[in-house]
Symmetry: C2
Subunit: 332 residues, 2 copies
């Protein structure tokens, strides 16, 4: 691979994405941290958190959502997993000349409806137009402001912590991918695109001892667990039998040759919590709409050779890696 140029894999949420951010983007900007977080507290900002996300999903409309609803949920979720209650969004459009205005309307109606459902306001915006062939239909950036309910910045993951997952995995990636490829699945797979704030709020209201939260989007559950385990020099063991996954999704992954652990989610919460609170946390998530299949899926151990191991139902251990790069371009 030509190391001097951007490749699709730089956007895949895997090892190459991390390298691009840590070795090129952050040092070039001259930031004082090793990475630019998905959401960050605003210094001097009275407990406010700030986040941004650009959305380039293709196709624009998919089962269970579209680029409009996704761009609202995605930014809300970056705030939620930082422990911040989403308050206000910006919405900035890059439109390709020739885009049908009816498509734009449909996308924006979806974004507006989603924002209202999630009780956040879209308060500022911008629109740019580029010539035909200089963008692909439309791209959306949303940035978001939230009010910090808990400070997880200095919180750490450590031995004994349990890993909680709010529901079945890999649905967003498979929904987008099957639509894009025109694959006719027996059962329609719908994206799980949804706000995570109701889950997070319920955990916070119950004073669950949360150490870290993430939404496993690009790179899937695997990338999220590897990244966090590496950050805190621990090893996480997850149990295959505990990870909820719908049969149709499993079948589609097999057909497409994808490991569901590496496929994007857009409405799932991963939380590392104190062991003593794990079962209670799962009960709480089960009480939130969409959380019926919440489960404790793993445990944190002292660091071993690899970051994440999957325990199979047959007693075996499989090493789980981040993908190197892009299995599914333009998934979000």
């Amino acid at each position: 691979m030509n190391k001097d140029r951007i490749v699709l894999a730089h956007g895949g949420g895997g090892i190459l994405t991390r390298e691009l951010v840590e070795k090129i983007i952050v040092p070039s900007i001259g930031g004082d941290k090793s990475t630019l977080p998905d959401a960050a507290p605003v210094a001097g900002g009275g407990g406010f958190f700030f986040t941004t996300d650009s959305f380039v999903v293709k196709p624009i409309f998919f089962e269970g959502g579209d680029i409009g609803s996704l761009s609202v949920h995605g930014t809300i979720n970056d705030l939620a997993v930082s422990g911040a209650e989403p308050l206000a969004l910006s919405l900035s459009l890059i439109l390709e000349e020739g885009l049908e205005i009816e498509i734009l309307k449909k996308v924006l109606e979806s974004a507006g409806r989603t924002a209202r459902e999630c009780n956040v306001k879209i308060i500022t915006g911008d629109t740019k137009v580029v010539s035909r062939g200089e963008a692909d239909e439309l791209f959306i950036n949303t940035a978001g402001i939230g009010v910090g309910r808990i400070d997880l910045e200095d919180s750490a993951i450590s031995e004994g912590d349990r890993v909680i997952l709010s529901g079945p995995i890999a649905e967003h990636g498979i929904a987008v991918m099957s639509q894009r490829q025109g694959i006719d699945l027996d059962t329609k797979i719908r994206s799980d695109s949804a706000s995570l704030w109701p889950f997070v709020r319920a955990l916070l209201d119950a004073d669950i001892e949360i150490h870290k939260m993430r939404d496993p989007t690009r790179g899937g559950l695997a990338a999220t667990l590897v990244e966090l385990s590496d950050d805190f020099s621990v090893t996480t063991e997850i149990e295959e039998a505990k990870i909820p996954i719908r049969p149709g999704v499993r079948g589609a992954c097999e057909m497409l040759g994808l490991d569901p652990l590496t496929v994007a989610n857009e409405g799932k919460l991963v939380a590392f919590v104190a062991s003593s609170d794990a079962d209670r946390a799962v009960d709480i998530l089960k009480g939130v709409p969409g959380g019926g299949e919440a489960a404790v899926i793993g445990t944190v151990f002292p660091r071993r050779a690899f970051s994440v191991y999957l325990k199979t139902p047959y007693g075996g251990d499989r090493v789980i890696d981040m993908t190197y790069g892009e299995e599914l371009p333009r998934i979000c």
Copy 2:
């Protein structure tokens, strides 16, 4: 023109942009206002302001700046003209597969350096990659948070107000345009890309009675004055002889067939101030680096047939209109 599709002119900052925002974008989102402002106060946000801007300027590098510095200045300026001190920025990238990493580095170094010069922090980010031909090199979105120093939301422009301009116009648009077209001008025209916060801060520190501020970007000084005059049902008269413009820029505009009043600026402040404070405001701007040519350029009158008139040195009046659409695509 096909009314059912996006055309380049929708992005030009003129009449079509305004129509797109007011008739399509805002109603589709279902906002409770008639427009989405460039920067908005965050309800429940303790005096914070929020803004967003996407940058698609072509070429990426131009005399006096690049897409990195522009994306920092542009968002800072949206906050500044709302009366908010810029505090933190997000930076989100959409990269085209094949982009040279050296180019990305140069752009980000420029963004980082500009942010430090302006005393704002880039605290959160995102990166997406699309296939070759699905974007043009790179697009940047920056959103920004600022602390409101003054509330101009309910402030109005009225008869007798004077119009202040911080310096010579049309430099950004001509710098980008001449570079893009490969036009070899006798004197190199540099973009005026710069932070407006030092100007705004100086006016606020001196308690100048400001009624509205704007940065006349896409659509130029003409669009800004027409829009504000329409919003408050007044007519603004400006004096041609008072509007600073460098001879090289004037010459380039003539060569390119452009009215300098409609060409984009990226470092100029337009302020409507109380008549009694106008001369003092200009003196203050002259004391700020880059403000040496600040001037009172016009006066607000009761509404006449048109929004803006230009008084020529020969005693004539010329009606100034917004451009209909895009004279200069991808200027910012």
